[in-house]
């Protein structure tokens, strides 16, 4: 039997809907980890079933809670609007047609405190599971089941092998690696899912490599990331 009993009994979550509440909170929380910089405003563009039913299922409160860093089983989720106001975070909801995306999808545009913007799109695919579909215009497919490195680089030969060399040097095993690029020879975007925790020094070492524009490590097993920090 290859399905865990904790898929049949679980997840522990805030109701009422695993796809519209728990999945939504998780989408925004993972997006916040990807943004990894202070932000003051989020615009949630809701697609499909999310757009039609968001209020009745608390999708709106769940998304704001996720943006605050609350986990999907945190009872403060229902009060996320008040928490966000207190933290100085503003938000808005709009409807959007995201084309052939899954029925439960959202495009999240974060306005950072330096005025720049980051845009992350993802889908809640049922049972609280999610997939991040695009990050700042680069298509990807990240289900946030494992730690990951999100890297922007110049599209030059040898960059990928340098990156994997650093990981190998730290004994980190690559589970999945996806590279996409804007155009040949310009910038590329790489997401590497790993079997192991990614220590800070790995992030720092990668950043020093030539041709690397930015590096973000997402460590999901860190329970501390759930704290509701001020924005």
């Amino acid at each position: 039997m290859e399905i865990s009993i904790f898929k049949a009994v679980g997840p522990i979550m805030i109701g009422p809907s695993s796809s519209h509440t728990a999945g939504a909170a998780r989408l925004a929380r993972i997006a916040r980890l990807i943004v990894a910089a202070p932000f003051s405003h989020v615009c949630f563009a809701l697609h499909g079933s999310f757009a039609k039913t968001y209020r009745g299922h608390g999708t709106d409160r769940a998304l704001v809670a996720g943006a605050l860093g609350l986990r999907e089983d945190d009872e403060r989720l229902a009060d996320s609007f008040a928490l966000a106001r207190r933290a100085g975070l503003s938000w808005e909801f709009t409807e959007a047609d995201l084309g052939g995306m899954h029925e439960n999808s959202v495009r999240m545009t974060f306005t950072l405190t330096d005025g720049s913007r980051q845009e992350i799109t993802g889908s809640s695919i049922g049972g609280g599971q999610i997939v991040i579909r695009s990050i700042n215009g680069f298509e990807t497919e990240y289900s946030a089941q494992s730690s990951a490195l999100i890297i922007r680089q110049y599209d030059r030969p040898g960059v990928v092998s340098e990156v994997s060399g650093v990981l190998a040097g730290h004994g980190i095993n690559i589970a999945v690696m996806r590279v996409s690029r804007s155009a040949r020879g310009e910038t590329a975007f790489c997401i590497i899912e790993t079997d192991d925790w990614i220590p800070r020094e790995v992030e720092a070492t990668l950043r020093e490599l030539p041709n690397i524009i930015s590096v973000r490590a997402i460590n999901l097993i860190d329970r501390e990331e759930s704290t509701c920090t001020a924005i």
């Binding site: 049949a8 009994v9 522990i12 979550m13 109701g15 009422p16 209020r55 409160r61």
Partner: protein, 299 residues
């Protein structure tokens, strides 16, 4: 090891152990955790279950449109004072189930079992039997283990999504899981657990998913109560010696087939059944109005 209910049963019978022992060994290998690790996780889930099954017993929870706000408390009082036509035990079990549904609809913390919409049935059965049969925590967790093992097999071979299989796949499967647990907790045999699974699914065959205004409130809460009763009576039928003439795996298969035959209107789209009644459509309109008003004032 096993990929359906018959294989799970055969293993238990061959080794002369309860179903939960086979399920536990499988989970240890699958998730690479120790026996105590599995029980610690089960305990964590059970604590969330008991908290949600008791939270609304003495105070109403606020839900969108308030369709089921305050339904658990009077049911609980009734079970304590009147006893009810079905007796105090069943009425109390239904109150636990309603509490879970109410907490779920109020954005409280619950444990999906197998889904959030059906989160009241398993806690209601486990808690009630623990009280009635004076079981230890460990014995109760063995019931939870039995239920979750049966649920995992049904997830693999059919579906537990209302959008795919209707309410029978959510509340019906929850009742089947709970029925298997109930038999085990009452010292029934592994074979009797499987018969109880068959009865619970037969008794919910064809149940449609038709949430009013798309909210997980009506008739979800009532179905959590009625499927709790279904779980207990299916267990009783099996414990009394009734055997299912249709093997449990074939009943699961039939449930899945029926689910796929249901028109889209009756699979969580809020376009058929109770949702499509005149009153049901009225609530949907009210919710849409409130959503528009709220969206205008938030940014």
């Amino acid at each position: 090891m096993y990929s359906n209910l018959a294989e799970l049963l055969a293993l238990a019978e061959k080794q002369g152990v309860p179903l939960w022992r086979i399920i536990l060994e499988n989970e240890k290998k699958l998730s690479d955790i120790s026996e105590e690790g599995v029980f610690a996780l089960l305990h964590e889930h059970y604590q969330v279950m008991t908290a949600s099954a008791t939270k609304a017993l003495d105070r109403p929870m606020s839900t969108v449109l308030g369709l089921i706000s305050g339904i658990a408390a009077p049911q609980y009082r009734y079970s304590r004072t009147e006893g009810g036509l079905c007796g105090g035990v069943l009425n109390r079990a239904m109150a636990y189930a309603l509490s879970c549904s109410e907490v779920n609809a109020s954005m409280g913390r619950i444990c999906a079992a197998p889904t959030a919409g059906a989160c009241g049935i398993l806690p209601a059965v486990l808690m009630t039997l623990r009280e009635e049969l004076s079981l230890s925590l460990r014995q109760t967790l063995c019931g939870l283990l039995t239920a979750s093992g049966v649920g995992a097999v049904i997830m693999k071979n059919a579906t537990v999504a209302g959008a795919e299989g209707g309410c029978q796949a959510e509340c019906g499967v929850a009742a089947a899981m709970a029925a298997a647990a109930a038999v085990q907790m009452a010292m029934g045999s592994p074979g009797q657990s499987m018969h109880a699974v068959s009865f619970a699914l037969m008794n919910s065959m064809g149940l449609v998913c038709d949430p009013v205004a798309g909210l997980v409130q009506v008739p979800c809460a009532q179905r959590n109560a009625s499927q709790t009763a279904n779980a207990l009576l299916s267990a009783d039928l099996a414990l009394a010696g009734m055997t299912s003439v249709i093997p449990a795996d074939q009943v699961v298969e039939a449930m899945y087939r029926v689910g796929r035959q249901l028109p889209m209107e009756l699979r969580e789209t809020a376009m058929g059944g109770i949702a499509a009644t005149e009153a049901g459509r009225g609530y949907a309109k009210r919710l849409a109005g409130e959503t528009r008003a709220a969206a205008g004032g938030e940014a």
